[in-house]
Amino acid sequence: MSSLAVSLALVGAAGVGQGLSREDQAAWSRIRESVVLVRSNTAPAVPAACIDARGYFIVSRAALGSSGLTASLDSGLVVPLVIRSVDEVTQLALLVPSVPVTARFRPAEPIRNALKPGAKLFAVLGDKPVRADVASLNRQGVVPPERRVLPLAEFRFEALPQHIAGALVFTNKGELVGIVNATLPASQSREKSVDAQALSAENRLWPPAQLGGGAIAENVMRQFGPGGLTVAYSVAPSVLGRVIEGFRSPTHKAAHPTLGVFCKDHPSGGAEIQSITAGSPAESAGLQVGDIIVGIAGTPVRNQIEFATVMFQQKVGSKVAIKVVRGGEAVDVIANVGSSQGAEPY
């Protein structure tokens, strides 16, 4: 692939400056070939990661504007983009050019191997790269509007707040680790921040002189000096990989397993069904509102979070055994695992 055929606007002016280590220079060179800055009429510019050589880009839906989406290439070409698909569960969107583009793109691959907490990463915030840390890859989060319980990755980095939405997080090998969907409020982020003295030089913002045009002004960097960490969340790499795989598919949709129920915890233990979506696998299996799910796929369920967590690990199209308590009596149910967003929606 002629990956160097296109230099994107984001990194066009960001020449490799002095002072960067050879390793950092190489890492940034790999990352920048997969990133484009998307502008719109309604929201600040947000980075998007190329996931397919045909010009498919994945981006945070929450950070993306709604109209006038364009990506400016360093060749001067402005490429109009459209939202081809939105994954409601993760709030990630697929952007594709709305006109034929001859340029070739270098797709980033989602990280496949395990990433240890504390691993050093690069985050692309708007048009500025910074070092990032991963604090956890196994947080549990409830993501609207589907309110699914997803594994989240928690990242920490120093950055101008207005550049954080939709930030892309890469390894130094150019593997995509996460796309920032949400951030903790500043007050909670401060509580999680570490002592400024404990930060290594690698954790700090790259000096602007080393980045060129896209860098943060030095006075601003001082203003946001060590200690002002932002805590941000992305869906975990495993889920991100699933979404990318779905976006690359002919349907451009990711398949997330679902039964079509909403639950809350039950005081005596278990997940109490609050509502059932019409036509869902849950309805077909005979589940009822008020049923208390106490087991799924052979795993005891103590609350709704455990139910949702296990449910999200099921395979679309498979069957799952569910144990519920209905009117004080145990009832066993076998349900098909459906997909509300996938190629075979129920």
Binding site: S60, V142, G166, A182, T183, E191, Y233, K264, I305
Partner: protein, 249 residues
């Protein structure tokens, strides 16, 4: 006290019980001194939890309470040998008392357990006979009184001098030794029960401390549809408890 009551008492101490369950627990407390004692122990711990000072997102008393209620008390890892010394020590006392009685004919010194809280005594299944009339040598059964969860044999002053005479000495000595043995057994039970209660209290406190130490702030993250004005990203909030959070699946 039976263990099954403890869960209710824990929930009562932490304000978990509702409706009729509260009334039932109150009645239990009114009628059972041991239940009161255990309840007060948990209530103190509950108050201590409420008083813990820590950032809300890192340490939640509610989260601690949930974890404790979820995991329960840790299994006892075994009784240290020095605690088992109660048994031979008490047995030794009993033996000494019996020996003294047999050889001197003097009244046995009653083993007073009044110093021990009566609530700590779980009624042993005693069938002890003592002389009704010291002069006759006849015996009558002393019916254990479990209404107060305290056998009458253990009440101070209820153990009489047998007034042993040489003619009936042997038989009465046997009876007295039986009473003393029973008393000693009860004393041992009381002591072990106290030790057990103390051990359970320590286990509970250890569970609290472990929960606090293991709590690294990794609660559930709720992402809202609101946009953070500073970052432009969705607003995330860490919550210590997932109670009443509706999720899809």
């Amino acid at each position: 006290m039976k263990h099954r009551y403890e869960d209710e008492l824990i929930r009562l101490a932490f304000g978990e019980l509702e409706g009729d369950a509260v009334e039932g627990a109150r009645r239990l407390l009114a009628s059972d001194p041991e239940a009161r004692r255990v309840f007060e122990s948990y209530a103190r711990l509950a108050d201590g939890l409420k008083g813990l000072e820590a950032p809300a997102h890192q340490l939640s008393t509610e989260r601690l309470r949930e974890r404790i209620l979820r995991d329960g008390l840790k299994q006892r890892s075994g009784v240290p040998f020095w605690r088992l010394a109660w048994m031979p020590a008490a047995a030794g006392l009993v033996a000494l008392a019996i020996t003294a009685k047999l050889h001197s004919g003097a009244p046995a010194v009653p083993l007073s357990v009044d110093a021990l809280p009566s609530s700590a005594i779980e009624g042993p299944q005693l069938d002890v006979r003592v002389p009704a009339d010291p002069s006759s040598g006849a015996t009558e059964a002393v019916a254990p009184d479990f209404s107060g969860r305290r056998p009458s044999i253990l009440a101070h002053g209820q153990v009489h001098d047998t007034g042993a005479r040489p003619s009936a000495r042997g038989a009465r000595s046997n009876e007295a030794s039986g009473a003393l043995a029973a008393r000693g057994e009860a004393a041992v039970k009381v002591a072990l029960r106290l030790e057990e209660l103390e051990e359970r209290a320590r286990s509970f406190e250890a569970a609290v401390l472990e929960a606090a130490a293991g709590d690294n702030g990794d609660g559930l993250v709720i992402i809202s549809l609101e946009t953070d004005a500073d970052t432009g990203a969705r607003r995330a909030v860490e919550v210590p408890s997932a109670s009443n959070v509706i999720v899809g699946g």
